[in-house]
Symmetry: D2
Subunit: 505 residues, 4 copies
Amino acid sequence: MNHDKNVTATVGHLIDGKIVHDGGRTQPVFNPATGQSTVSVELASKATVEAAIASGEKAFPAWRNTPPLKRARIMGQLKVLLEQNADKIAAMITAEHGKVLADAHGELQRGIENVEFASYAPELLKGEHSRNVGPNIDSWSEFQALGVTAGITPFNFPAMVPLWMWPMAVACGNTFVLKPSERDPTSALFIAQLAQEAGLPPGVLNVVNGDKEAVDTLLHDPRVKAVSFVGSTPIAEYIYGEGCKSGKRVQALGGAKNHAVVMPDADISNAVTAMMGAAYGSCGERCMAVPLVVAVGDEVADQMIAGLSAEIAKMKVGPGTDNSNDMGPLITKPHFEKVKAYVDSGVEEGAKLLIDGRSLQVAGHEDGYFLGPCLFDNVRPGMKIYQEEIFGPVLGIVRVKTLQEAMDLINAHEYGNGTCIFTRDGEAARYFSDHILVGMVGINVPLPVPVAYHSFGGWKRSLFGDLHAYGPDAVRFYTKRKTITQRWPSAGVRDGAVFSFPSSR
Amino acid sequence: MNHDKNVTATVGHLIDGKIVHDGGRTQPVFNPATGQSTVSVELASKATVEAAIASGEKAFPAWRNTPPLKRARIMGQLKVLLEQNADKIAAMITAEHGKVLADAHGELQRGIENVEFASYAPELLKGEHSRNVGPNIDSWSEFQALGVTAGITPFNFPAMVPLWMWPMAVACGNTFVLKPSERDPTSALFIAQLAQEAGLPPGVLNVVNGDKEAVDTLLHDPRVKAVSFVGSTPIAEYIYGEGCKSGKRVQALGGAKNHAVVMPDADISNAVTAMMGAAYGSCGERCMAVPLVVAVGDEVADQMIAGLSAEIAKMKVGPGTDNSNDMGPLITKPHFEKVKAYVDSGVEEGAKLLIDGRSLQVAGHEDGYFLGPCLFDNVRPGMKIYQEEIFGPVLGIVRVKTLQEAMDLINAHEYGNGTCIFTRDGEAARYFSDHILVGMVGINVPLPVPVAYHSFGGWKRSLFGDLHAYGPDAVRFYTKRKTITQRWPSAGVRDGAVFSFPSSR
Amino acid sequence: MNHDKNVTATVGHLIDGKIVHDGGRTQPVFNPATGQSTVSVELASKATVEAAIASGEKAFPAWRNTPPLKRARIMGQLKVLLEQNADKIAAMITAEHGKVLADAHGELQRGIENVEFASYAPELLKGEHSRNVGPNIDSWSEFQALGVTAGITPFNFPAMVPLWMWPMAVACGNTFVLKPSERDPTSALFIAQLAQEAGLPPGVLNVVNGDKEAVDTLLHDPRVKAVSFVGSTPIAEYIYGEGCKSGKRVQALGGAKNHAVVMPDADISNAVTAMMGAAYGSCGERCMAVPLVVAVGDEVADQMIAGLSAEIAKMKVGPGTDNSNDMGPLITKPHFEKVKAYVDSGVEEGAKLLIDGRSLQVAGHEDGYFLGPCLFDNVRPGMKIYQEEIFGPVLGIVRVKTLQEAMDLINAHEYGNGTCIFTRDGEAARYFSDHILVGMVGINVPLPVPVAYHSFGGWKRSLFGDLHAYGPDAVRFYTKRKTITQRWPSAGVRDGAVFSFPSSR
Amino acid sequence: MNHDKNVTATVGHLIDGKIVHDGGRTQPVFNPATGQSTVSVELASKATVEAAIASGEKAFPAWRNTPPLKRARIMGQLKVLLEQNADKIAAMITAEHGKVLADAHGELQRGIENVEFASYAPELLKGEHSRNVGPNIDSWSEFQALGVTAGITPFNFPAMVPLWMWPMAVACGNTFVLKPSERDPTSALFIAQLAQEAGLPPGVLNVVNGDKEAVDTLLHDPRVKAVSFVGSTPIAEYIYGEGCKSGKRVQALGGAKNHAVVMPDADISNAVTAMMGAAYGSCGERCMAVPLVVAVGDEVADQMIAGLSAEIAKMKVGPGTDNSNDMGPLITKPHFEKVKAYVDSGVEEGAKLLIDGRSLQVAGHEDGYFLGPCLFDNVRPGMKIYQEEIFGPVLGIVRVKTLQEAMDLINAHEYGNGTCIFTRDGEAARYFSDHILVGMVGINVPLPVPVAYHSFGGWKRSLFGDLHAYGPDAVRFYTKRKTITQRWPSAGVRDGAVFSFPSSR
């Protein structure tokens, strides 16, 4: 049932410690820099997903009884293996996602930090103990594992986002079924195999590749207790609604439209440099990418445009395997078309396209999905390129007169994932961070992705659920609280009377 | 539209600091000890609920900006007022719910403890601060208020369960719309008025009485960010599914069927005393009531039956206004019929009815909903009285041979709210608490309701959501995490260069 | 043995719940606004102090067994009583210390906040619980009370500093012996009596008035487990050395010389206003007072001087009982002479005395210890008025060229209690707060006294010990960690074999 | 100046990243299994120690500025190296200390766990952040490094106890000077070199070998901010008194006399097995060794003696290099004589010596310091072998009638390091753990050494200071709290007025 005679490998599933090919439906995996596919991925049937869940169910009792310290040490060992295999994993990412190798390494490094945090599990799983909640009554909480948990992850960080989820989930004593993106499935599967090499017992982490059939099986199977999702907002909303209707706990992270406010007192050259990476890094295919600069005052807008234009002129776009490139291709042909259409719509709706990347050709990679960097001025609320998440290398300048105006825009937007402000002024920064309706706020930091020991999550329609991803919130998400209250009867072995009974035993 | 000419009072709503009567539908509130109604309750229309939500929305900005310490102090002041008004509130509870006055006082006291915990808000709202997450980059988390939040509470603890919710919600900076049970709405409304007397600004806490129309309005209005619910499992499941589909965070606590395991080494007389309160207190109308004794060994079963029978013989049933009574009436006529039908079904399904309270008559209160205590032996899984939550004064003995058998029963049951074990043995207690699939575990404590500084919540179909009620989990439920990452540009006022610019200002 | 026939009252001790007069040595307590004394204070003998310690020792077992919630509630009740008696306590403070009534109220309010924090004890005393530190082995920590603890407090905050100490100590389950300053002992004793009215059992809090004999008894008696001290650095050092040599835990807070750095971009008028209170409030008799402005750039220095001079010209000095006064008298005649001598020495060492308060006369209070506000320019390191803590209304301007120079000065000074910076610049503030060797740092906050739910303490020779005063650190200081590791033998009542033994009992 | 011509190696110091031999005094290091010395250790002069301190002082600024995550990762890398070098380190320990290789491996493993905990530093160093402590005022705490810190460690765990201290100290950003025991200095020095290989910069960890001259230099040098000590109580007391008099923070862990209570309901065979290791493991040279069994009831005493005697008969004593041995030699000839003298005194004071190990000869190791296991019955308070810490393979049985009597004995003893109880009874265990005046309590756990993520410390004269060793307390010990309070002036860049100034720059 393979799609193409050039296919040299088929990515299967990892179930109960073994790679499984169920012989069902497959789908090609493309190299976005060439537009070619030599790999196909299997799309798990309901039965295959159920086998993965069953494997997790079977592995759970022994794993939850394994002391946290032992579970944590496997994470420590995995960290070592990930570092040793970093080049190999980065190459896998670049081959399927297209991002530049250095960026793939950066992604992996962020993922490793989540493994590192999971290795703190003995500290993180401490419950609260209260002696004498009443006379001679004690009470304490424990954070116990849930059972089988699941994660559904997006194409844009094929190695990192899975590592946001399952290391903490398994360190907490759960077992896990991961469904990575079917567009770039190789690295997540490889890392799962490394985890087994690091000591994770079979069945603790299962990987199924697939599409909606796999997703729906995970959402509706009563053995799955929790679902973590990262993807677009419409799917996040579906996952949250369906998963919760099935009685599960769900955290579903969706889309974003992150604004960077640049104040008149900002270090403009610093802001320009920061924005280059934030807007065009990984082709803008990041939920923390910043596709909008909100310039406070025309002078700021003009300076930013001047600086950005100069930098864009120096940008090099080409295959991610060449680290001298600044930007690789978009993920798929349809996505490439979609982003291009956004640029068209921006022009139609009256934004001023200062730099047009639509006609870019990368020599020797004519079939790759390359789009050059685009820069718009005069982007305004209401335009599609203002309202919607583009996920491409398209940056728009919005002009406002005051910080308050900038904040009103941001607070009115449907998404509330990330934002940042460039300023030197303590008061502006504090007012902004206090009052902005966004979950992750940068002050002179363009991509305020929290470090692994804090948690990741947006507000408004960027996240459904109450607990954020990774970090301390993940510990709470992947455990349930048990509260024990204990009083002992008073007349026991401690009393003199007790001396009569040893003889009678 | 009042139902009855004897009605002397109509319970309205509290919106924007004022008692509101919207002149819409009403419903009688009965005194279960007499079967009479002199009070009716208004059932809020969608518009009335929306007015309450709007009031919360309006009050929010100023309230979330009020320092936590000030918000907390209002809780401290409320505590004082609740203590001063305790007799009055207990009388309200007894008049509408039926429970004995002493029990109403006990309920209120538990509620006050939640107010007390809410007064710790400055400590509880601390975020985590990390200097140097990277060179000269700092990051910290804040736990910010959500906006308008809502609570829907059951009849069985008309004063306490509302106090599980809104004091912590408002101490965290939210505003709140409470919809108490329409069967006994008076005390919750009165307490809300006390809160205003304590200093809560208008609109921070609104109370709407009502039925499904009110509930659905709260579930679907996008201005409501979070919903807390306590009630039966089918409704909890509905609330969770609907609320989440609307994109909200929801915690929904449902039903229970709590088992008490009595081990051969238990202090039997202590277990008997404990079980009397746990089974018959408040007529069994508690989600932490214990309607099942699982006796390990026939000897234990026989001893428990002997002890319980002797105690039941001494029980006094009558109106809750007389503190010498041990038990008052059930909440409503239909509920009375339903509980009686459960007893009938137990007999039909082959359980042995040792003590039959069905024919109880309370002199002078012939129209009250009084049911005498019932005791069954030989209750077995599969029987309706084993599987379902009765919420009445019906205790069943289940006989098993080992602790493992007892635990298998509990772990197989649909509910996982509370459970307890009576034993002197450290190992048995530890094995039980570690492996039982129940959220609140008592060791020689029949009703292991966590104290206010721990959190309340069951497992399995007893709770939908990830965060438990009150205590530390409530802080997390009623706040959203904001993570701020901060770096300052280096060339600033600190450098010598700076000396040129003051002169130019 | 009374010193004076005008004495109308003698302040005794509170031991075992009763006011005790041991008939020993006494000393007059002066009203610094009049120079008169109508009150004397007893100076406890070693035997009296030992009686207080014995009382604490006797009260300890029952008190440490009292559930934390009950102990905490007494603190809640004390808070209510303190608020009700605020005017009375403020008057006591003003009569003996001299500060203006409004300032006395402010002091009391800060003390009440510590009582409030102590009322969070159930939350604060939670230990850490770890299930499965090894297979079926659990471990948890408890924070248990120490026994008899003691506090020795200074004259400058006669009500507040005692409330930094004993409420948390007793909320943690300790008993306490307080030795307030013998210069203004009345308010602390009165508050201790209120605590008993609030429900504190006799012996839990004892108060002894006295001098070195009392102090040394507390330091050397082996029954005293911990000593908290606030006072001057030489005494703090003595207390720390002696107390530790006796094997106790000790925290000893000493002197300060707090610098305020004013940057060229600061809001100067805000800085001037802030400095007026910081320098002259309570006559500068505060360990968080700011007697030094470090102006970065001469322009800043000149602006600050202009602003301060204008404000000083408006200041009103007189008895604290008149709330229209800005400043009252110094504490004692000798202290008045000492401060005056510091001003003399500043002139001699070459600082420029811009405003000279030495000749101030307050009409009708010619015997009061009033000194007018003094302002120096050109204060330089090495001068006595730069190096030493004056504890009087003497403010000096130090001129530097850069922030780094300002910070080098501060970091080189012997003390490191508090400091602040006035700036608008985020980077300057962050660099300052990161690198300054001072325990309490204000950014545009002149007196960065931490709120009650954080902790108070300086660095370098301003604090000896490792844990700061009040707040979270106080919880750790007043408790000792106990770590329990638990494993249960496997063959117990849970096994079938157990069924043989109930019959043999 | 070498003592002996057989010396083949001289153990020097590690200063500023290099092994240093200062050519000063030396002392032989003996192999206790042979009584021979082929290694000598240098005894650092004051100047050498000062050089180490200076090196730490120099390395401090860069190291404290290194992000915690980077510091933590070096600990992660050190863990890997320690595991790789485990056999080599264990051999070093056995050669100088004498303990059996398996025991040396166990010691190292415990030490590695402390390195592991130190690698959690980013999580552990989080401060507390409070938004809006007042209107628009924020406050937060940071836990900053102290500077140069020092540790002085005992012979009995030459690898582990240093790892209790410096990994956490340096992970917190301090630099460290370690003075290991001069009796077995090799492994600590080797591990320090591994730490450098793992990435620790020169000067962050310095090691000086030495005696009182080195110790006193560390105690009195003002550049050393904190001292951790583990050793005997008289020295601990000296260190605490002297160090505190020098104004430092000090934690000094001293001696122990740990009692194991065996209850009538205990699993006796389990208790016997547990006691064999607890009493004779590592020759009893552990501060957590249990040299006293307190048997509740004569029956228990007799059963314990029968069980222990049978086990002792099977014990094998010989060189630690042979893993089939249960016990190796004592540390030195003088210590061997001292322990023997304790056994003599026990006999003289009337205890009944059931098993006498004094005449043991190990064939081929006649010059080794081998003492056979000794067992006393009828040990009583007042006897030297009851009161004093023997640190040898001498176990005594104390007979009591009730648990209370056992607890009274323990609570009256000068030491309070560790204790344990053997019972099946929940109430007895809870009563014991609540009321016993001992810092580390085992319930059926003979050596309740807290795991690395809890903290280690005794009560009474077993520990001087307030914070325990390693775990969470170590984080607090090796950091000082800085509290920052921040308010920004309101009229800033955010206002419209700001638009005038960019043009003027």
